[in-house]
Structures are given as C-alpha cells and as structure tokens.
C-alpha cells in the first residue's frame, strides 16, 4: 500500500478490520427469556456493538456483536431486568 502524507488512508472503515473482541476477558451473555428489548444496553454500549433487533420467534432482543465487544460489562450493569450475566472468556 502506498503511503499518503500524514498517514491518510484513501479507504474508510479500516477500524472495522481490527476485531477488538479479542481483547475481552469477560463475555456478557443475554438471557432472551428475561430480555424485554428496552434498548438501555444499546444506548450505554461504549463500542456501539449492541443492537436491538428481531430474533426469530422471540421478538426484539439485545444482540451483541462479539467481534467488537471488549467485555466492559456496562450493559450488564445497566440492564433493568438483569437479563445479562458474565462468564469468563475462554481462549
């Protein structure tokens, strides 16, 4: 790749190729039977890797993109119905 002045990159989205999920020590797990799809976790997630979306047969639920989730567990702290728990990441 040719260098441009100042390290400018002519494409966008290079950050997406850096899968920061590998940094995770704790993995948040969503219990779909408890999740009410309120979206509090989506708003609080500092990485923007939670999306409230339609899960087959269950309605709108919290879906975490583990490629980018760093395991900060803010979602677990904020969840009003305690639907999110943590487990140690196995590597």
């Amino acid at each position: 790749m040719k260098d441009l002045p100042g390290g400018v990159i002519e494409s966008v989205g290079s950050t997406a190729r850096n899968k920061t999920g590998g940094w995770r020590n704790f993995k948040p797990r969503v219990d779909f039977s408890k999740c009410v799809g309120c979206g509090v976790c989506e708003k609080f997630c500092p990485e923007g890797c939670i999306e409230i979306k339609e899960v087959e047969h269950l309605g709108k639920k919290c879906v975490i993109d583990y490629d980018y989730c760093k395991g900060c567990l803010i979602c677990m702290e904020e969840c009003p119905v305690k639907a999110i728990t943590k487990e140690v990441e196995e590597k």
Partner: protein
C-alpha cells in the same frame, strides 16, 4: 501598494485578511490580543468573509483550525506563551497529520514567575514537533512572512509558525507596506488540498499505526521537514519577484563582514545591526530567520571565515545552555576550522537588550574561553 504607519498587530491582521482565510479561531492572550481583536473587528464589520470562533481556550483554537484546514478551509490562529504551551499536544498532531496550519506566535516568556514580556522560550520549546518556525525582525517582515507562510505550509503540507517578538513587534508602530490584494492573489494560489475531509469522498485521517508503520510515517515527516527548507528559500525568491522584498536567502540573513559573528533571531537583530553600523564594524550578524527546519548548511557557509562566534539566545534549555547555542555549536563541529563560540542569554522576560548590553557581551566574549554560557540579567 500603500505604505502607512500602523501597529504591528493591526498590520499582521491585515495580512491575514489578504490571504482568503475562511476560519479564524482564537482566545486572547497578551501580547497576541491586538491581532485577533483586529480580525474580530474586521469580521464584525463584514470586511472579511469567514467564520470567526471565540473559543474557550487555546487547545480548542488549534483543534478547531486543525479540523477546518483538514476539511479544506484555510484557517488562522494566533497565541502566546501559556496559550502555546496549552496547544502542545495538538501541535504534534497537526504536523503528524500534515495539516498546513498557519499560526502567529507573539513571543512571550513562560511562567513561573508569571511575566507578560518578550523572550523566545514559548516557541523555542516547541521546536521538536514538526512545525516550520520563522522568526521576524520587523513588522514588515511579519506581514510578509504571514503571506509566505501559507504558501510554504500548503506546498510542504507542514504547519508553519510565524514568530514575532511580543510588544517589540506586536505593539510597535512602524511604516509598513501592506501588499495589494491583487498581488497576494498572484503570489498565493487558492487552497485546494488533494486530501481533505469530505463526506462525498470519505478518507481516513488519524488512524492507529502499529510500530513499523509509525516509524515509517515519522521518518517521512522528518524528511518532509528537512525538504521544506528548499521551499522556504524558493518562496522567499518568488515573494521578492512580486513584492520587491526579500529576507536574506529566506533561511539566514547576514549583515556586515566583521570577523566576529553574532548569531541571533528576532527583533533584537535590529539593535545588533544598529550597533554594528554605529559602534563596531569588526562584528557581523548572522540572523536566523528559519529555526525549523534548522538551516545547517546555510549557517555553516555564513560562518566559514569567522574567527569567533557569539550566540545570543532569548531562551534557555534549562539544565543545559541556550537552545540556539547548542544547535549552532553542533553545526560548527562539522567545520574544518572550528571558531571560538560563546553563548549569552539576553532579554529573558522582556529585559531590554541595549547597546550597553551588547558592549558588555563583546567585551566579555574577548575575555572568556570557548563554550562560555552566561545569562545576562540586564544593564
């Protein structure tokens, strides 16, 4: 082209207004205040068509014009002393991102103790961040250097600092020739950067670089800084062909032919020229106009036949010696016949450098051995 007696700060503001600037962001600080005050007034009166942002601090001023320039808008800010120190972090980012900012630094001492008067500690302390630094001797040179700075910065993709002595140049009234708009337009092309922040054509600015990428990009930055010296020289010649004024070879300016050379930067050079002319023709002056990149070859050539060298600093690298001194002596090391070199640190915190001061320096230089470093507290 009209010549008028005008305050330095006002003259600089008029020069900025001639450069088709689209964004100005500033926070007032003595002795820079009159520059941005004049620009704010011009903006309020509709004399310049730009955005004027009163920021809450200098960190925001420099960050704001960094973003504006990255988006393709020619910008301006000015500061002094603590304000420049507050910008420190962003100054490195601006050079690293190759954003061609132009900033006027009205040189003032740094705290503590608090002091509003002139020395060079503020800008000299920013020497390692990749900015081009030009030091001016007169108001006329300040005006011309601002116009040149946009051309230099935009050709080299390096931010450029025009350093002018606080009060001695910002608050002095001098006869100044303000260039005509038509000539400035002929000299300075429209700002149209190849790479800019544009939602229609997105690019990535400021991505993370892993060690090897970082080292390579920093090496490129260093090489660009070294190459920019040639651009400063060429822009000085081009400016001369249109406006009829030049400043030495753009990098250093020599005056007189005496065998003892005084090396200095900034407005103190006017006093030194006067001293040589009226008191001591055995001296000569090598004025450093370009401090970064450091014009090593030009300084060496200017000192080729000198018997001894006196370096006058307006700042101290605390715990070592005068900053300019250490760099000049580094250049002298490469010479076949190394002249005696001494260092006198004058005018800290606005102490006046008078003919009496210079008499003392010359006499002392004759008595001491090479390598002598002395801070002179005043007459």
């Amino acid at each position: 082209m009209s010549e008028k007696v005008i305050e330095g700060s006002r003259a600089i503001a008029e020069a900025v207004a001639l450069c088709d600037v689209k964004v100005i962001a500033a926070y007032p600080i003595t002795p820079q205040t009159h520059i941005v005050e004049a620009l704010a007034r011009m903006h309020a009166n509709g004399e310049i068509d730009c955005e004027f942002v009163n920021t809450e601090a200098e960190f925001s001023s420099i960050s704001l014009i960094l973003g504006a320039t990255a988006a393709g808008a020619r910008s301006f800010t000015a500061t002094s002393s603590q304000g420049l120190a507050l910008m420190h972090e962003v100054l490195f980012a601006a050079a690293g991102l190759r954003i061609p900012l132009v900033m006027v630094v009205a040189n003032r001492a740094l705290s503590a103790p608090i002091n509003i008067w002139n020395d060079h500690q503020d800008s000299v302390s920013q020497r390692d961040n990749g900015w081009i630094q030009i030091y001016c001797e007169s108001v006329q040179e300040a005006v011309d250097s601002v116009i040149q700075a946009y051309k230099i910065a935009e050709e080299c993709l390096l931010p450029t600092m025009v350093c002018i002595d606080g009060f001695y140049l910002t608050h002095v009234y001098e006869p100044v020739s303000i260039p005509s708009k038509e000539k400035v337009e002929r000299f300075l092309p429209k700002f149209n950067p190849k790479y800019k922040l544009d939602p229609e054509k997105p690019l990535t600015f400021g991505a993370l670089a892993f060690p090897k990428d970082y080292a390579r990009i920093r090496k490129q930055l260093h090489e660009a800084a070294l190459r920019s010296k040639e651009v400063v020289g060429r822009v000085n010649r081009e400016f001369h062909s249109i406006f009829g004024r030049k400043y030495g070879n753009g990098m250093v300016e020599t005056y007189g032919s005496g065998e003892t050379a005084i090396i200095a930067a900034g407005s103190v050079c006017g006093t030194i020229k006067h001293f040589i002319e009226h008191e001591n023709k055995k001296l000569s002056l090598v004025r450093i106009r370009l401090f970064r990149p450091f014009p090593r070859r030009e300084i060496r050539e200017a000192l080729e036949d000198k018997e001894s060298v006196i370096v006058i600093d307006r700042s101290v690298s605390l715990g070592n010696a005068g900053t300019l001194f250490t760099e000049v002596r580094d250049v002298l090391y490469e010479m076949d016949k190394r002249p005696k070199v001494t260092n006198f640190i004058l005018g800290l915190g606005g102490v006046d450098v008078t003919r009496k001061t210079l008499r003392y320096v010359i006499e002392k230089h004759g008595k001491v051995s090479s390598g002598h470093v002395e801070i002179v507290e005043g007459d």
